[in-house]
Symmetry: D2
Subunit: 361 residues, 4 copies
């Protein structure tokens, strides 16, 4: 097994915390440094994940031999320069979205990474979300779905969390850049990556008519294969974040609501290969069913109980209680009578408090 990958998080804000949380949990990654001009934020983040080095000096991070991967989560306007410095220093780089402000900046980063043989990754997380990957899988089932010809992606919230997002000098733009980069990549990916030939857009300033940037926009994408894409983005959406997709094909349709709603919703006259029965007509696709069923949490908890001597989240004594209840149920079903349970059965000492305990995660 290779040595773990040393990671430096540059930018200790909200998204720095998210990436730190994810990478701290990866068995082959190791957080080695946090870098932010705001040293209080950097200290706080490092403390949460026991990161040894805290600094406000990116050069120091880039000179640190332990650092293999630099995660850039600073304000957008700094992305291109900081990512380029990291690549030139021979570091792999993951940049939170948007990768940079302009196509040319991004092209420069791509060239740098290619020339040096380094990994350059960008934060287009939603195309890797389990639900939307499930939608993509359904759309790609050509037998079931036919040819996709229309897609719509909605990414709306009530405005950005971080103050700098509203400062165009740091953010580099308004909602078109901030959420548009998500919506456009999701839309293209759902339609299979065909070339976009023409773009029509309209933007609005809903909440601040005199504000510096647009806070709502609709995009119409024309693809080379004749498909149409619609992207609706907004910082002016009441009622909580909405991230949804829908795709129409010649013989099927599919879509998902990331946070609410039906989950994944799909139809095929011919039947989806990857959906359990019933798999024709309107179907009910699950996703990540092993995890959704709790097997990952359960079995991992067993490993940790054994190796780390921590208690199980769900005691086997519960099975004994449930078993007594089921035995009573069988008796009740057979006799038609209600069966009462005595609370101290068999006089046997039990290894765990039964029932109860704090089983809330």
């Amino acid at each position: 097994m290779s040595a773990p990958l040393g990671v430096a998080v540059v930018g200790a804000g909200f998204m720095g915390g998210v990436h730190a949380e994810v990478l701290a949990a990866h068995p082959r990654a190791q957080l080695v440094a946090v870098c932010d001009l705001d040293q209080r934020a950097a200290q706080e983040l490092a403390g949460r994940f026991a990161v040894p080095t805290v600094t406000d000096d990116l050069d120091r991070v880039l000179a640190d031999d332990r650092v293999g991967l630099v995660v850039v989560t600073t304000p957008n306007a700094l992305h291109a320069d900081q990512a380029a410095r990291a690549l030139r220093a021979g570091r792999h780089v993951l940049v939170e979205k948007p990768l940079a402000l302009t196509p040319d900046e991004i092209h420069g980063l791509l060239r740098l990474a290619t020339e040096r043989g380094l990994v350059l990754a960008h934060g287009s997380n939603f195309v890797q979300s389990p639900k939307f990957r499930r939608v993509r899988e359904l759309v790609a089932d050509a037998e079931a779905f036919g040819t996709p010809h229309l897609a719509r992606v909605v990414v709306r919230n009530a405005g950005p969390d971080s103050g700098w997002c509203l400062d165009p000098a740091l953010a580099g733009g308004g909602v078109l850049l901030d959420l548009g980069c998500h919506a456009v990549e999701i839309c293209r990916w759902l339609l299979g990556g065909a070339e976009v030939r023409a773009v029509t857009a309209r933007s609005q300033r809903v909440r601040r008519p005199d504000g510096p940037v647009e806070d709502q926009a609709v995009l119409l994408l024309e693809f080379a294969d004749g498909a149409l894409g619609q992207c609706d983005i907004s910082w002016a959406c009441p009622g909580g974040e909405e991230i949804t997709t829908e795709v129409l094909g010649t013989t099927g349709r599919a879509g998902a609501d990331l946070w609410t709603g039906m989950g994944v919703d799909a139809f095929s006259e011919r039947g989806f290969a990857s959906v359990w029965e019933p798999n024709k007509g309107w179907v009910r696709p699950e996703w990540e069913w092993v995890r959704a069923s709790g097997y990952v949490h359960q079995d991992h908890a067993v490993v940790e109980a054994v190796l780390d001597s921590v208690p199980l989240p769900h005691s086997p004594a519960e099975a004994w209680v449930s078993s007594r209840i089921l035995a009573a149920a069988e008796e009740s079903a057979a006799t038609g009578r209600t069966v009462e349970l005595t609370s101290t059965p068999n006089g046997l000492p039990l290894p765990d408090a039964v029932p109860g305990g704090d089983r809330v995660h």
Copy 2:
């Protein structure tokens, strides 16, 4: 870091495969043996996960020094004996549900594990499913939810997958045992683990009126604190598996549909502490949002791209394409005109095929 935990999977059927898949992916676990009387099935499972030892002899598994944890997924009627043998051999044990056929069998296993200081875990996976844990968290928010007083759990499907489940000699019972053990544990757990004082049940034989066991049942549980629980279980449910929960509290309510529907649905007049805005009234609780957003898949893919030199699932060249589209969108929004994109921009060589590639997971 401790040595990895060696795991033997006993029973190479469907659930043996699920646990093997989960434990093979745990960084601190290692599959060392597969045991099944059906050697073809054992070989197949071992092959999928590169497990070194295949046997049909449980004693050989229990004598293997590499084995720290035994996962029992054999027919129900064998659980008690096999788990007891493993415990007596000093092995930690995870038994797929039901832990055993009767309360006394289970009690015996609990005593054995306690006496020997071993971990005994059982397959009550749904109480560890992310969605239902979210429901439990909402119910446990007493400020928001008040006192829970009614819960309903539905576990229904179209009948068991494995042939032995319909053979009472191996299965140990009908749907009351097979799905009842899930429903009862979920119900008790959602209501906070209060003691059940009385049970009323009715069972039906819907699909085979003359069959050996019941295939549908309803249970009414009376808790010591006055709460009521309802469990509906069925092997005779058309339309696909249904696993749902709902809980009523004095000031709130919550529920979830594991596979379909609203996901998690909840209401509180006072507001849930753990829900994003809006968090009062009918709310839209997310769960595992970092994972649901794709950050786990994305960042882990970066680690693997660096350490294993495998391609990223989503190329950074996509960001360049999207950025060009957004620049066109800004121009279109500013001018009111449709902006056409040229397909070979800048004459620059690009590191990746753009657009396209097979981005389907």
Copy 3:
């Protein structure tokens, strides 16, 4: 055409108002009297619907030759006596639910009505709701649904509207009587009217542990044909009224949420005769589609515009505006350009203000 049916509303509370509203709109009914001890309430109700007679004396109502139908919406404890007096006076009677407090009281009314050849009707409105009738129709499609074997009916709210409902002397009971009469009739009706052979129930006092009556209950009904029925009723339900049904059959299932959710939700492997395509698998049954589509409102508005010279709710000038927009859309689709509309077309005077006007109903 027969003479209109004269109607007296006895009880000028909330439900008196509902029945008055419905009967006032029936072309062959005519409200002739309102009777209530609370003369202010009676006057108010009579005023809303231009009812000529207001009284606090039921005998006067029963002596009035214009009265053919007496609608009883007084507190439950008065139903049996008032309905009997009306029947004895030769009047047809509609009694708001519950028809009376006990089986014997109801039996007495049935005998009276039968002996005199009078119509006796009771308020079991939900079995006549369009959504639940649609569910019943799906369940009764034996080819698609098979044999129904399990039904669940939920009727829950946050407690009764009228103060007297909480006074057992007037209400005659708690939630078992108040909402149980709905739930039980819906459940029996959904299962096709088979005989109930045994009843098991549990009740709770959730909101007022020391209150005079139960405010929550669950019922388990055992039918002679082996089917099971579940009724969940509550006055202690947070989040708004819930009235839902679900039925399982051997080859299909169906259910509905009266106020929210999927509307009517159904599945059949074989296909429902009454559902549009797709009619197999999980389907999306509409109900009252002619009305739901707006045809009833639209065409009736035309009749009234002609006969009563009132304006149409939706001016035909709107069609002209929409037509101009569609012509522009065709031009835009053909040319790829955005088409601007001039606001004063053709210099032609238009019969209506275009666009605008208050078109909100």
Copy 4:
């Protein structure tokens, strides 16, 4: 009361049947003639509703003194001429959508109707559908909703029912005309009728790339007040007809799915005046609740039972059965025991068969 309005239905196809059904049920309308070149269809329609006159000659209809209203449901290309002839003959006219093929044709009809003081109505039924009227009401609640700034209307199906719809010579166009006239009017109406200043559209030929007309289109409407409207229309939609709306406002949002889904879905931070509690946050608006509750069907059935001596759809003997069950439930709740019901209670003869009968509508 005025004399009933005599109605002639011109065009005996599917929509002719719908309008005939609706108008036949109006107490003040009377179908007097059906006119169609296809005399078999005309006879069939006349037979269903007992219409006295059947003809293939529109002039004969227009010369018939009994005819006050002419309902035109012929192929689109005939609308302008037939409606104009009817108006010139002094008849009120309702024209199924589209009112005519071009803005100028429509303008001519508007002028004719205005000059003669006749009612001219057109089939824009969805703006009068109960669900969408409820959405409009929520949007118009300025205190709750703020200013609407974005609307989307989707009208999609799998293609027209009538053969002539695919013949451009009779239909006058493709999906832009056929469904676009619905979508555009709904969109404008939901946004309060503001003026549309610019239109951008794209169309596709999904199912027949070489067909004569487009079968899918998206429209982007720019309103004078800055709002944006999106209309998605399709004849190439798998999975059944989709008719949905959504509107965003500065402090609320609302939408509806006409056939499936949540029904009406809405959010307001401030609270909707017309929604029952809870009326803040995400709410669950009902619509036409008196009808949805079954009161209209129930009370009308009583009137008909009295006046026409037809049986009630739901016998009062059902109340007696339910009352017996509730009495048993009370006993069971009090004693904890299951209570069995005897099937022939009291030895009393009952007026109706109990239980059973065909209660399916």
